[in-house]
Point group: D2
Chain length 366, copies 4
């Protein structure tokens, strides 16, 4: 990871601000011969698109992605791919207040301190709009994965909103697509709807936990010591706006286990090793086992809220701030497709890295 | 991060296996003119050294570090520094069993699948001995930071062992150095001693949570979007053996907060901005605020235990495994100096990156 | 250098094909606070623009550059800058022949072999149109350098066309801007005009040598061993289309010298060290001396010519090929601003790297 | 390339000074399963070893390489390999003069200016002893290539010493190993012996040109635009001490050719495309064609000579300097195995990169 780039071989560099003319992703190291077109990418962007229901920002962006390079006759050529998304809903507004005050919990003050200036329109580069570029790049990664690992699926969902967690006994993969919160627990979906509506009306916001699972990932991806699959996944998820924690498998709860309880015992199945459990989240020693890869991350509540908070101005004067505008009461919702995109990019990157170093062969068992 | 290297400008590449002749760290991008010698590095290695009490592995390694390059007349020259640690306590033993069986929860099986072969002596490259090299590199980073940011301190400590957490009301910085668990809670230290002793005798192991705090870090370090300070810290900590979760500030608990509760309100102090709280863990938008930088990570229990677990052999036969040998009942203890070392490396790296891009100046407030 | 990216801290990733909708450069690591706007970049692009005289391709591209991100209120913000140039003159033509035959001396056959497919329209990614993106990025680098090193100037010029070399006794800096060949020798300019006109009419093309000089570069830039200033300059120039050789200072001719003749003797001047000569081209041990940095590179003749050459088809059949279209009889002419751009990018990159590692201070002499 | 590291996937980081305890190479990204041991590497180091005849430095270094990690039971494991070479012939001498004066044409002054201090013993990090580490790493690359591309051979030789060039009509591959200059022209070998002996006695030194050829390299290696095979070769060769120019194929002479003369015409042979000539040096558009890869580089004369040259002291006083000690009268001789090593590293790196991105398949012709 290097400023605006992530990835080793499949490298994604994003660019663009919330209220500039456009934003996008420059994607390098794409395998040649991948079938891809704009509608395939748009499918994923539409899932992240704002303004789809009352639980997300009312900004109306079509987030229409254009492929400007690297694809010829519907196929990737192996050269760098440019994915561009125009910004269209940039309301003219008075930026005087936001340009002079720092929102608590927001990047306003640190950008000012680091760079000496900032593009304050809509948060500039620190806006979560940047994640649209990730979703576009993730769509491209998915297209490549579909050819290289046809059985791989990547699915994200919310497991917690504020203090409210799902009931894992009611986990239903099909439910995820049916509710506005991407949650696998239909009961939680109903409960959260009321809860979030009340919060929004009160001028407040709330955090969330998202889990992303990759099923069908082959063993052998990831590279010790600093190119571990979990290391790169942790970096990928932590780089998403507002994320404050990342877990692999049992995550922080692993600390409470004993070695006996934590052992994912191994047996021999018809297609190779099988495991009695998946505390490890599908990764051992930084390398995938072939089990489900399970990553979880926490998103803090939006700092842009209607409730006044104490802050200072650029001149150092103390004041209050109320952030009007079209903000997500729970940004975690729209982080679900973003987390999926990051998972897709990391897995593809490691697939390419692995076949680069090892040729992609696997040590035989049995 | 790239296989065995981490860092952007201050780049650390580690090498070596548990039972090879030596291991070490090749450190590039070191600022010139830093006063450093072997005893300064040895100080930090001694804290991680095995065999210091009954709670850590009884392997007896002096872990004596040698500086082979990049330092002249007691000062870094700006060229690559080689830090080497000889392996001395390599007991001859019969590796037949471990070479044929995969320990559940261990990298044995994934190394085999990825590479087709593995150095099974003591875990080879997947052994936590690799972290000695990190501590050596971290010592070098600390020496550079001591010149560049004299007021910076980096302190790690345990906040949880198995299900037992510290009482933050009893937090005492001075206590950390007084007990074998590096915990700031004297009450916990006593409790944990009994608990861990029992676990060890029963042939089991347990996980832990470590927190690392950097005090006195200047604002402005870190670089959006993929070079965020928290992104790099998450990667750095997740790359440590057995780590399954990483948190910044409130971490996973941030998900349960509302925006009102989560806001670290800002006031103007005599030396610049001050904050009412530190939910953010000292980082906003990936850039340091000047508050304490707070990182927490969970270490799973050692998978090498004396209690039999089900597994398979390289030939695919089902069997049981009992891992004899000199293993840590709670590897989290020795992860404390490792976490500190990673924090030191990441902060120094970002200090250099920042002055590279911005010249190290700060946007004025007030 | 990594596929489509070059640079360490000031990192340029280019994208786009000759006949796609657009091409551009994504520039990361730009220092904040640099005054820049589109006309400042356009100035440099106009120098490379095709169709300006009969000695360059008759393709008519305005090469109008747009800044899509990273600049706010006329100043860089420190975030990634997107520079986009639309392709406007894409004549519809019959690509059947070029899609089936490989031009000798062209990337057609190697792209086909590597990727299994290629964008054959105008050479796709292998077209020299990619260098427009470099010139745009170079313009941005120049803007940053103008603030950081105000006295630095970077000037490129042709010293040889085909077998015809300039007479260094007639070297005139002011002449460079006066003739269509960017040559400092007015006598050569006249001679070359006739020579090239004849070549063009005969359906042939010719090579050239370009020299780029940076005057006013501070000492201390560059980093041994693999980040040497000359190493990066060599890579930068060799990456330009059709370049087959790169020289620093005396270059290949240094082989013929004795140590006595090659020594640039040092004396003490009022502002620091002075040198009796500059065989070294301003770089010793990979680090700038403060003298003029002198780089020279050879451009081979365009392989797209009207004279029939023997080749094969994708089906492996032997045939002849004649490349019609709007090709430069001497691509070296338009390589002059490209070489300047690469010099600007490399110097800025090393300026940032140096102040990152060393803080930008200099060891005192005297 | 990044300070002390080169390579994308096969990454070599070198460390060590001329008169420190040791030097070496940390090699990352090595494919697993490569048969290698110390004698295999020593074979290549012995070719570069000083003191083998009167034409090279009389320093007596065994240059014995040790493999400290990454190899188990005679096979690479896929983890980082440490190759260490102890310095044994470090004569105690009086460094007063060399520590106070800057040798013209040497890195003394630029290291001082950049870092504020330097390890002046034997040139420290700027000593050509660093190239021993490259040769060791190159030996490892050759071992991997021997398994991956069995027919590949890499051979370097001198084509020019001072003003004296070989007669290509007398080119004999077998002659290269028979004379102390690695030249394929027996006639030149005799001539050069007398010439160099006279130069050495007169206290002078001389430059050289080395050519390195890779035969049997598959097509498809190299990646446009900034990861071109020729770009990386240019960087690799230019990074060798004292190199001032690099050429691919016809190199600088390509400038004098017309497009008609420069075209390597293509025909269809029994095993694929064949070429009428190899002006391109086996690389088109940055990608290998399958022809011989031909790289040439010029080495300047050693700046450490016995003839007095004017210079200044650290205090800025003007003085003369005579460099006594055991210096090579023609460092180009020992650069031959170094050039070969760099070629091996670059080709292996691109082989891994290529199979990472494309899977290593080739677009069919015919």
């Amino acid at each position: 990871m290097s400023l605006n780039t992530f990835g080793h071989l499949f490298r994604v560099t994003t660019w663009g601000e919330s209220h500039g003319p456009a934003l996008g992703a420059t994607v390098d190291g794409v395998p040649p011969g991948v079938a891809v077109d704009e509608p395939m990418l748009q499918h994923w962007l539409d899932r992240r698109k704002p303004g789809q229901n009352k639980y997300t920002t009312q900004r109306r962006e079509p987030d229409a992605v254009r492929i400007l390079s690297g694809v010829f006759d519907g196929t990737t050529t192996g050269t760098s791919v440019q994915l561009m998304i125009a910004n269209t809903d940039q309301r003219s507004k008075d930026y005087t207040e936001i340009s002079q005050k720092f929102r608590p919990g927001h990047a306003d003050i640190t950008y000012h301190q680091k760079y000496g200036l900032r593009d304050y329109r809509g948060g500039g580069r620190s806006s979560a709009r940047e994640t649209a570029a990730r979703v576009a790049a993730g769509g491209l990664a998915r297209a490549a994965l579909a050819q290289l690992v046809p059985n791989l699926t990547i699915t994200g969902y919310m497991t917690q909103m504020g203090p409210k967690t799902i009931d894992r006994a009611r986990f239903d993969w099909d439910e995820i697509e049916r509710n506005p919160f991407w949650t696998p627990d239909a009961g939680a979906a109903g409960d959260w709807a009321t809860y979030l509506d009340d919060l929004r009306k009160s001028g407040d916001s709330v955090g969330a936990v998202i889990e992303v699972v990759a099923r069908g990932c082959p063993p052998g991806l990831g590279a010790p010591i600093y190119g571990k699959l979990d290391t790169d996944l942790a970096a990928a998820m932590m780089s998403i706006n507002a994320v404050k924690g990342v877990e692999i498998g049992d995550g922080m709860a692993a600390a409470a286990l004993t070695g006996v309880a934590n052992a994912d015992e191994i047996t021999m199945g018809p297609d190779g090793p099988e495991y009695s459990s998946n505390h490890a989240g599908g990764i051992l020693g930084g390398i995938s086992t072939g089990q489900d890869i399970v990553v979880r991350f926490a998103v803090k509540p939006t700092s842009s809220i209607l409730t006044p908070r104490r802050t200072i101005t650029v001149d150092g004067d103390e004041t209050d701030i109320v952030t009007k505008g079209r903000h997500d009461p729970c940004v975690g919702i729209r982080a679900v497709p973003v987390g999926e995109a990051m998972m897709a990019c990391v897995i593809l990157d490691h697939l390419l890295l692995d076949r680069g170093q090892t040729g992609g062969t696997r040590g035989a068992i049995g």
